[in-house]
């Protein structure tokens, strides 16, 4: 049987291969799919496709357009869960190529949907096809990086997942620039921008496809010896994906991720109106947008910082910091609002968002510690369903509680106090899940040979 360029066998690294060539391959994929976080830059232009400068009769409304991102996130979580085992089997190159194909063609199909003014084609294009590209792309380099960096798994996966946060920082100004460039009297430039981004992102992800390599089965970093006496919460055994999700540890980690993400994602969605309402009259929409940009930067930086730190202090301790410091910071927000201190308020949210990003980036290494390297990518894929749940839970809690309070006569500036205390409650649940973490029992260990 012949081996194709995309097969796992073709990606085995030759002796002497520099392992630091692999993180940029993973980053090329994650920087591309991270565009999803900046999709909101298209929301308003998509409601003006007919009217060009304003919404005309027949144009879609914001509610309809908002579903595109929601569908993409649902398909991100579900495709990561469903295709995780396939990704492990075929290796990173074929899965990255599939992700590039899905993500790039998702943009092109959506552009066709804009051309015909058929919203369902955009749901199908960016939502379903693009969403599958997001899910497959997100998990494809994870287990490869963990195998290349057994000495620093947190740093390695943190680097890739930092790219997902960084992708939005690139995509937001890029989308605005492209729409401005393609704008004419007859078009607001969204269609052309979608085609251009589809092609650019496909080609950029191909950098990852061409340069990714898996280590040979017996490869180890030079001079590195696996610890003879592993730490209590770092296993030297393996657990298969079908067995992993039957363990209490999987569901405890699911709770850890879900609670950490719920608390952060609720704030991200409301960051701009929140700072404007708490400091009414002192913060303009433009300054609020700067605040959103700043917390996005900390979201990205926190991914590499906390994941790398976890290599030294342990994953469990890292999440302990997230939950305990998170509770302190969230509970201090109402006081900072009363004090009227914008710098302290901004600083608190920068740290909170760094821990939100850090939670995403540290979880693959935590999974590796608990379940071994065998099918860690697939297990990670299933754990990402916690993200899908948190994506609904966090914003719903923040938005509904705020609205309920305003409807009951609470001034807007104080409407976030109860929300912050509820976020503390979520973090407390996460803390307890993390506190209860114990090594996986031997009966769940995989006995077969690992590739």
């Amino acid at each position: 049987m012949t081996t194709s360029f995309l097969d796992r066998e073709s990606t085995v690294a030759p002796p002497g291969f520099n392992r630091f060539l692999v993180p940029p391959a993973a980053l090329a994929v994650h920087l591309s799919i991270g565009q999803a976080y900046a999709f909101s830059t298209f929301n308003l232009p998509l409601t003006k496709l007919i009217g060009i400068t304003h919404s005309a009769p027949g144009d879609w409304d914001l509610k309809q357009v908002g579903w595109i991102f929601s569908i993409a996130i649902v398909f991100l979580g579900s495709s990561a869960a469903v295709f995780g085992r396939w990704v492990e089997r075929v290796g990173p190159r074929k899965s990255m190529f599939t992700a590039a194909l899905c993500f790039g063609s998702g943009f092109l199909l959506s552009a066709f949907g804009i051309h015909l003014h058929q919203l369902w084609l955009i749901y199908l294009g960016y939502g379903v096809l693009g969403g599958c590209g997001l899910g497959i792309g997100y998990i494809s380099p994870v287990s490869t990086l963990i195998k290349w960096f057994p000495d620093r798994p947190g740093m390695a996966t943190g680097m890739a997942i930092m790219g997902f946060g960084g992708g939005a920082l690139i995509a937001a100004p890029l989308s605005v620039m492209l729409m401005e460039h393609f704008k004419t009297a007859a078009s607001n430039g969204v269609l052309e921008t979608f085609v251009t981004m589809g092609v650019i992102y496909f080609m950029y992800m191909m950098i990852g496809v061409y340069s990714v390599r898996v280590p040979a089965a017996d490869w180890k970093p030079a001079g590195w010896v696996a610890p003879v006496q592993p730490k209590q919460l770092v296993t030297s055994a393996n657990v298969a994906v079908d067995m992993a999700w039957r363990t209490p540890q999987f569901w405890l980690l699911w709770g850890v991720l879900c609670m950490n993400v719920s608390a952060g994602i609720g704030v991200i969605g409301q960051a701009s109106p929140m700072i404007q309402e708490i400091f009414a009259g002192r913060v303009s929409p433009a300054v609020a947008a700067s605040f959103v940009g700043l917390i996005s930067l900390f979201n990205m930086a926190g991914r590499i910082f906390w994941a790398s730190t976890s290599d030294y202090i342990g994953r469990r301790n890292t999440y302990m910091i997230f939950f305990l410091l998170g509770i302190v910071l969230y509970s201090s927000v109402p006081t900072l609002g009363h004090l009227g201190s914008i710098p302290l308020f901004v600083a608190a949210f920068c740290i909170i968002l760094s821990m939100y990003g850090g939670g995403f980036a540290t979880i693959p290494a935590y999974l590796r510690d608990m379940f071994g390297t065998y099918q860690v990518g697939a297990i990670h894929g299933r754990l990402l369903t916690a993200w899908s749940v948190a994506g609904v839970l966090g914003p719903v809690l923040v938005n509904y509680i705020r609205q309920y309070q305003i409807d009951n006569g609470v001034p807007k500036a104080q409407a976030y106090s109860i929300t912050m205390y509820i976020m503390c409650g979520l973090l407390l649940i996460g803390f307890l899940c993390n506190f209860a973490m114990r090594p996986v029992k031997e009966k769940y260990h995989y006995r077969g040979s690992t590739p």
Partner: protein
């Protein structure tokens, strides 16, 4: 191998730096 390493890191580093710079430029408004 070293050349490839540099090219790859530059290829991912430049867009990321550009995005960070753009975001920082906007974030500066917070402090004015």
């Amino acid at each position: 191998m070293k050349g490839r390493l540099v090219i790859l890191w530059v290829a991912v580093g430049i867009p990321l730096l550009w995005g960070v710079m753009k975001t920082l430029q906007n974030a500066m408004k917070l402090f004015h």
